[in-house]
């Protein structure tokens, strides 16, 4: 319950933060909302020597329109994501999924950038960012770079972020008018997703013209269910087409086996939940 000793800085600008992180070396960690990091520190599963708290950097917080994108500051809390009108209108799937993260207290502190950087494959927001083709803006000593979601998630708890880089912003294309649903399956309300499916559909005249589908906890990273998407496009938004498309849900997955669910059960769930998510979204 008592973390090991560490130093702490709370920069007020991004540059200061990048410098602090860089100077802190490999044992420096970024403190975002702290909702994943603090439990780990309390259990002494990690012992960083320095925490760089991003909480004092105003520019990292907030949601804004940026041309054809909606940009979400990395330090924007889940609570703010859930309640933001811009996101509701243009990136509704993100609002759906963020509302299922942990519990209200955690959503008051936990941040979108923190959750994505943490890159727990059971986390709910990676599949959404991946499916919605978000861009990740990274800042480091060499300046800023933008990474596509497909390039961001590399492995369990591993992302394209270098040790001295920070995630500053996540930029979502607009999905204005799309239908969406995040179907989460867990053992208890506060448990992490056993499997979850993120679906956004563009439906024109009862026919699915575009589809985005992401899977949570079906591999070492979030998974884009491209096979499902392809199978949906051009089909009526019906139970039959949802079922047919859902049969592709496990393509390209490598479901983990654990005490909650062995891989075959996860695969089965992925198919069932994909069908349901598509139907709910379409409905």
């Amino acid at each position: 319950m008592i973390p090991a000793q560490f130093d702490y800085v709370r920069p007020t600008t991004l540059d200061e933060a990048v410098r602090a992180l860089s100077e802190g070396g490999e044992d420096a960690k970024v403190l975002g909302g702290g909702q994943s990091l603090l439990p780990v520190l309390r259990l002494r599963l990690a012992a960083p020597t320095l925490l760089v708290d991003l909480g004092g950097i105003a520019e990292l917080r907030g949601i804004r329109e940026d041309g054809d994108r909606i940009a979400v500051g990395a330090m924007t809390t889940h609570h703010d994501v859930v309640h933001d009108e811009l996101l509701h209108e243009h990136v509704g799937l993100l609002s759906d999924a963020a509302a299922t993260v942990a519990d209200p207290q955690v959503r008051h502190r936990g941040t979108l950038g923190g959750a994505l950087s943490h890159a727990d494959p059971a986390g709910d927001l990676g599949a959404v960012a991946l499916a919605l083709e978000a861009e990740f803006v990274l800042a480091g000593p060499g300046g800023r770079r933008t990474v596509a979601a497909t390039e961001f998630f590399l492995d369990y708890f591993t992302t394209a972020l270098a040790e001295d880089e920070l995630l500053t912003e996540i930029r979502f294309p607009r999905y204005t008018g799309w239908k969406h649903h995040y179907e989460k399956f867990n053992r208890t309300a506060q448990a992490w997703s056993m499997v979850a499916v993120a679906v956004a559909l563009k439906v024109d005249g009862g026919v699915i013209s575009e589809a985005r589908v992401g899977l949570t906890n079906m591999g070492t990273t979030p998974i884009r269910a491209s096979g499902v998407e392809a199978a949906l496009v051009g089909q009526p938004a019906s139970e039959d087409s949802a079922k047919a498309a859902a049969a592709h849900a496990t393509e390209g997955t490598s479901a983990p086996s654990d005490a909650d669910a062995a891989a075959d059960y996860r695969e089965h769930l992925a198919r069932v939940l994909t069908g349901r998510a598509v139907l709910t979204a379409a409905g």
């Binding site: 319950m1 008592i2 090991a4 000793q5 960690k29 994943s36 990091l37 439990p39 780990v40 259990l43 002494r44 599963l45 990690a46 960083p48 943490h118 727990d120 494959p121 059971a122 986390g123 369990y156 708890f157 399956f185 053992r187 208890t188 309300a189 506060q190 448990a191 992490w192 997703s193 056993m194 906890n217 070492t220 983990p256 086996s257 654990d258 005490a259 909650d260 669910a261 062995a262 891989a263 075959d264 059960y265 089965h268 769930l269 069932v272 939940l273």
Partner: protein
């Protein structure tokens, strides 16, 4: 909740009233005093360095680096403290030849479960102690873990305690034929097997391992300054802790004061005498300073005692007309690595409840307790009786299926009818009162049993994705522990009485001292109500004191649903003595004979006159002592010790409507109705609260909770991420009601209620889950009935082969679920 009084309640003002609780005022404003909030000046903090391995030889302990850590006063092994020979007590040697290992304060040569303490650090702050603990270097030579009970009993098995020569702790047998309380089960089975008009049904049920998971982690503060050593402890049993500290460490009992301040739940999990408590006493004596220990939640899940964990082989025989003829029970019960205070006796508390409410002519109970290299098991809400109730209610359903009968009709055919009370059962217990018909009829009507059966038919016929199951549990239990002579006959190491004192203060207030030690039950409120009626004083004038051996020197504490039915009756007895004394003084002051006095509503009046005095006036007169009868002392204060004549036998009918998603296997509790008969209700609010909480725990066993170990004996469910307690979002509202058939074994007519909900609900849920799936060919689903287990059961019934589920593997994902905090394999960040 509705309360149906079968007989009119006596004309009282307080008993039966839904008083909101006195104790809440502090707890809702944060003016609480839990043990961890107590830190006397100069307090030192203890941290326990625990073994990450289940079974290993300790080859070296190097404390030198830890000793150099800032703020550290000492780092000690058992040898350093001279406590290698100290063993913690087991108070229930269930057989004369029971094998009992020494349970050390700290492991010296061998660790026997993952989480066992090996060394302690004492430092000026909890943080300094924790920091130094990381510096203690312990080398282990791993030994084979012993994890499976049946394998542990096999020839050539690795022994948990080689000096015992076996992994068998004891085998305890009750045979109604041999005891003369019934006939022989062996004969019943042989007869049934030979009789074409009879049936024999055998089933194996598993009681998974559970963790009590009280919300307040365990904690103690031991202050050696002052003439007595004061121990504050998060315990259910301050009196037992005091006596057992003496037994364990030899400190004279008169030099010990134990205080249980506010205690944040127990559920049996806080009846132990802990190695950590004893270590704090030793260290406080050694340093002359207060020493404090508070566990983390992970430590609690790992090292606080667990519950349940039985393999149950049940054979029932019956006539094909449904009449039950015999029940043969074979249990294996996992003790874990050591014996807890009452651990070996927990399964035995169930021995007398397998026959439940039914008229079995023959019953045999055989239980073998087994040592494994796991955390020890001991009492958890219900302690033995949930296991028994689960087995009998599950097998009654199985018998109904085999006979093609409605499960409620079959129960009705076999239960003790209202007219048959008092009824002596096949195990020799006498049930004093009950009305199974009343509770059942009311429950079935509220539940709409017929309507739901109809809906179930419809869903089956249409092949609905959501199937409906109806689960039944018509339970009884024995509680109110316990008649001392009965405990003696079971070789239990204490009596079952309870003590009470009443002090009549000069200013009209009444202090009630109870030996029960509440930790959430509402004793202050309920006991105040009882005393207000007994003495005719205002409820507000009654102050209930407990949980401090200087205030309440005599008591046997709180467990086994005993506080009201034993402790409450002791209070009644003390109050009766107060009235007797007051009457003498009243007669004296009123210049009347005692025979002419009436006592009612707190007033003594002379019959036929308007002369009278209130009991509070008498109390003042006794305090002044200017004028009182010569043949008595000037005091109304009275003590009583009450030893119950019988157990208490609450009962009830619980019905669960379970929805199962046959695609995902997900189980949903749609509706839960129960009607409980807990005798006279002192406070309906409190009774309802006890039922709700009990249900939640019993339902959680059926649906959510399981402590699992990996193949190396490491606890996999070592945090609340993995040991999944239900939140509000995981449970529905329950439809609870109470009927009242007053107990005849005590003057208030009360029965215990603390464990009833937990005992009753588990089989109702599981019966419902299986009932939803029975038509698909599913015959069993182990607890907890997770979605995966249900899905696999459906697949198996369809003839589909599925993967083996690794029950003991952490996923790298799912946050803290990925790591065992007590045995970290690596960093995640």
């Amino acid at each position: 909740m509705t309360v149906t009084e079968q007989t009119p309640a006596p004309t009282t003002t307080e008993v039966g009233r839904a008083r909101t609780r006195k104790e809440d005022a502090r707890l809702i404003t944060g003016r609480s005093r839990y043990t961890d909030s107590i830190t006397p000046h100069g307090t030192l903090h203890m941290h326990v360095v625990r073994s990450p391995l289940a079974h290993a030889t300790i080859t070296s302990v190097d404390t030198s680096s830890a000793l150099r850590s800032p703020g550290v006063l000492g780092v000690y092994t058992a040898a350093d403290l001279g406590v290698e020979a100290v063993g913690l007590p087991c108070a229930w040697p269930i057989t004369p030849d029971m094998k009992a290992p020494q349970r050390p304060l700290l492991a010296s040569r061998t660790v026997h479960f993952a989480g066992e303490g090996v060394a302690v650090v004492v430092a000026r702050s909890a943080a300094a102690a924790r920091d130094a603990a990381d510096q203690v270097e312990i080398d282990y030579e791993p030994l084979e873990p012993v994890l499976d009970m049946e394998a542990a009993l096999a020839e050539g098995a690795t022994l948990v305690h080689p000096d015992l020569g076996t992994n068998e702790n004891a085998t305890w047998v009750f045979d109604s034929g041999a005891a003369g309380t019934g006939s022989s089960v062996d004969e019943a089975i042989a007869a049934a097997e030979a009789d074409p008009d009879s049936i024999v049904v055998k089933r194996r049920f598993l009681q998974q391992r559970l963790i009590p998971a009280f919300m307040e982690p365990r904690s103690c503060v031991v202050d050696p300054t002052g003439e007595q050593i004061t121990i504050w402890a998060a315990t259910q049993v301050p009196h037992i802790l005091r006596t057992m500290t003496t037994v364990t460490l030899g400190v004279p009992e008169s030099k010990l004061r134990v205080i249980a301040p506010d205690v944040g739940g127990g559920f049996g999990g806080k009846i132990g005498v802990l190695p950590e408590e004893m270590l704090c006493v030793v260290l406080a004596q050694k340093t002359g300073k207060p020493v404090k220990w508070t566990e983390t939640r992970s430590e609690s899940l790992l090292a606080a005692h667990h519950g349940r964990d039985q393999i149950q082989d049940i054979t029932i025989t019956a006539k094909k007309d449904g009449t039950v003829t015999g029940l043969d029970v074979h249990l294996l019960a996992d003790m874990g690595a050591y014996l807890g205070l009452v651990g070996p006796g927990v399964p035995i508390l169930g021995a007398f409840m397998f026959n439940a409410i039914y008229k079995f002519p023959a019953l045999k109970f055989t239980c073998t307790n087994v040592f494994t290299t796991k955390t020890l098991t001991d009492a958890y809400r219900g302690a033995g009786r949930p296991e028994a109730t689960f087995a009998i209610e599950r097998i009654m359903d199985e018998l109904a299926v085999e006979l093609g009968r409605d499960p409620m009709d079959l129960r009705r055919q076999n239960w003790i009818t209202h007219g048959e009370f008092p009824f002596t059962t096949v195990v020799g217990l006498t049930y004093d009162s009950g009305n199974y018909e009343q509770a059942t009829d009311q429950a079935m009507a509220t539940f709409d049993y017929a309507g739901l059966r109809h809906e179930q038919e419809e869903r089956r016929r249409s092949g609905d994705r959501i199937q409906l199951g109806i689960g039944i549990s018509t339970f009884t239990e024995m509680c109110g522990l316990a008649p001392s002579r009965v405990l003696g006959s079971l070789d239990y190491g204490a009596g079952g009485w309870e003590a009470a004192s009443i002090r009549m203060l000069a200013t009209g207030k009444v202090e009630v001292i109870t030996g029960a030690s509440g930790h959430g039950q509402g004793h202050e409120t309920a006991f105040s109500q009882i005393v207000a009626d007994q003495l005719g004083v205002p409820y507000e004038d009654v102050e209930v004191l407990h949980g401090d051996t200087h205030v309440s020197p005599k008591g046997l504490d709180t467990y086994g649903s005993r506080s009201l039915v034993v402790g409450g009756i002791a209070i009644v007895k003390a109050a009766e003595k107060v009235v007797v004394k007051a009457k003498k003084i009243a007669a004296h002051l009123l210049e009347a004979s005692e025979e002419d006095l009436e006592f009612s509503g707190g007033n003594f009046t002379v019959r036929g006159t308007d002369k009278g005095k209130s009991i509070q006036e008498i109390a003042f007169a006794a305090f002044m002592a200017h004028d009182y009868p010569e043949d008595m002392e000037p005091s109304l204060d009275s003590d009583a010790v009450y030893d119950p004549e019988n157990f208490s036998f609450p009962h009830g009918t619980h019905l669960a409507a379970m929805e199962v998603d046959t695609e995902t296997g997900q189980v949903r509790l749609r509706k839960y109705v129960c009607v409980d008969d807990v005798g006279t209700v002192v406070n309906p609010l409190i009774v309802e609260g006890q039922v709700h909480g009990g249900l939640a725990q019993g339902i959680a066993q059926a649906l959510f909770e399981e402590a699992t170990y990996d193949d190396q004996g490491t606890l996999v469910t070592g945090t609340l991420v993995d040991y999944t307690l239900p939140s509000a979002a995981d449970l529905p509202s329950f439809d609870t009601a109470v009927v009242s058939t007053p107990a005849t074994s005590n003057p208030l007519g009360v029965k215990g209620v603390g464990e009833a909900g937990t005992i009753a609900s588990t089989p109702a849920i599981v019966n419902g889950v299986i009932d939803a799936l029975r038509h698909l060919g599913v015959t069993n689903v182990e607890m907890p009935t997770t979605s995966q287990r249900v899905w696999r059961a459906i697949q198996a019934a369809k003839g589909n082969t599925t993967q083996e589920t690794p029950t003991d593997v952490h996923s790298p994902g799912a946050g803290l679920g990925s790591i065992d905090p007590n045995n970290p394999q690596g960093e995640v960040l």
